[in-house]
Amino acid sequence: MEGLSLDLVVLQLFTGLALGAIYVLLALGMSLLFGMLTVVNFAHGAFYMLGAYVGIMLLGVGFNFWLCLLFVPLVVGSVGLLCERFLIRRLYGRGIDYPLLLTFGLSYIMVECVRIVFGTTGLQFDTPDALVGATDIGIGYFPTYRLFVIAVTFVVLGLLWLFLERTPYGLIIRAGARDPQIVRILGIDVARVWLVVFGIGTGLAALAGLLAAPLQGASPEMGNSILAEAFVVTVVGGMGSLVGAVIAGLLVGVVVAMTSLLAPEMAQVSIFALMAVVLLIRPQGFFGRAGLMS
């Protein structure tokens, strides 16, 4: 192969991790929503896209990128809260089909609204000045911004871990993700927990979108293709499992990176082939509960 070396393979691993970091953030939210609310969120890609555009909007009114990192998840998470409160809440207990159809419709609406406001062409999103360029990571230069994406993801994972392990809400959410019945039995105000979960899930998707925007710009369709990939990651990790989402996200990122190095034309199919193989060997994914939703 032309230009292939060990250093390149290691660099590619890092690239895979950066790619995987975005998947992880998306899949975490998706897995939370599925585990807690049994909502298969077809609008997850749209929330991701919204994250990028809200970032552009906030930059436009004078925010800097660092503030965006904080405010974009808050703004989009609030949109998520509204959707849960006024639309999705009415569908709980009606099986997975209805939220699925509703969020599918919702994604159409969100994408079209963004087209109306921001146009169809897609917009550029400049890398923040402090993160432009490449950093020597020992085996070669690697774009600083991508290292930053990996770092942010790990920080978010840490915060999420603290939240889930150290706060009463977290305890309820963890219990609920394992067995939604328990939360109901314990007589907790489930409605509020669900609301919070929806906010966190969509906020994470928005953060992923914001982080991806300097890499690829923003376009109304950016959520469509990544939605399928996020599904793959969630399912491979095991739906409802947060650890699974993290491991599968990074794994899928690395697999895609490696196939695009060795057999680029297979890069797109590799992700689905991986999912098919995993599910045929272990039908519930890495960490999923067997028989879930069956």
Binding site: R90, L101, G105, E112, F272, M275
Partner: protein, 316 residues
Amino acid sequence: MLPPNFVATCKRHRVVLSIAFLIVFPLLMPFKAIAVNILIYGLFALGFNLMFGTLGLLSFGHAALFGAGAYACGIAIVHFGAPWWAGILGGTLGGMAIAALIGALAIRTRGIYFAMVTLALSQCVYFLAYQATAWTGGENGLRGVELSRIAAFGHSINFVDPLTRYYVVAFFVALALFILSRILASPFGAVLEAVRENEARARACGYDVRATRFMAFVISGGFCGLAGALQALHLSIVPIETLYYQTSGLVVMMALLGGMGTFFGPFVGAGVFLLLENLVSLWTVHWQLFVGAAFVACVLFFPRGIWGTLLMGRAK
């Protein structure tokens, strides 16, 4: 919603009414090609509904079955010069063959995982077709599925004429409807109900649940394959998008919109979806906004789907 005696009358004469409807339908539509599309997508949704509505298994890989039918028919005609009927037969069998392949692997998973395995396998089919440019035309799609005249019953029929094309397609759709109603009324149809209702009991009764599911998936593949073949003949091309996962999503939405588990629901869903898209896109480029809003409204206010809601209204 509908007076009960009217419904009862309709039910008694539903074969006659269906045929009458198929005859006048193209005259009610804005143009013939969309009437044909509605029939084809309705048939596709019907095949999908056999898994989802009748058996309770949500497949996200039905694009592969539909696309396999379209490509099998197209390739038979373009590369082998097959006659039109062989194309249709080939498409049906092609749909069944891919269904057998995907089914053999996927049928052991359940629920949401079944949806995801079928999605993954159908995406694999998509990428294979994408790469096999010599046979499928790759990204450009397969062109040249040109059928100008078809010979049947000693007559040569002008397939280019829009109304004639509609009636040819309608004939096959009616045939498929007849076959499906036979299947649903057959002993196997009872087994499908049993498996959906209570898997453990069905097994204890002596039914092989996996084999039943597999067979239903293959039959579903036959209907979807037929729909694909008809689409190839209707459009004279097979777009690669036919195999893409969004086509699977589309058929799920159509079935849900119409009312899953109802016999005519899939057709109603396909019709409403395509008409809505067509009409709204005539006066605004932001048609997706309205289609999306219609979905949300449907879920909130007509959770049984349009046809399902109409049927419920009469049951009250």
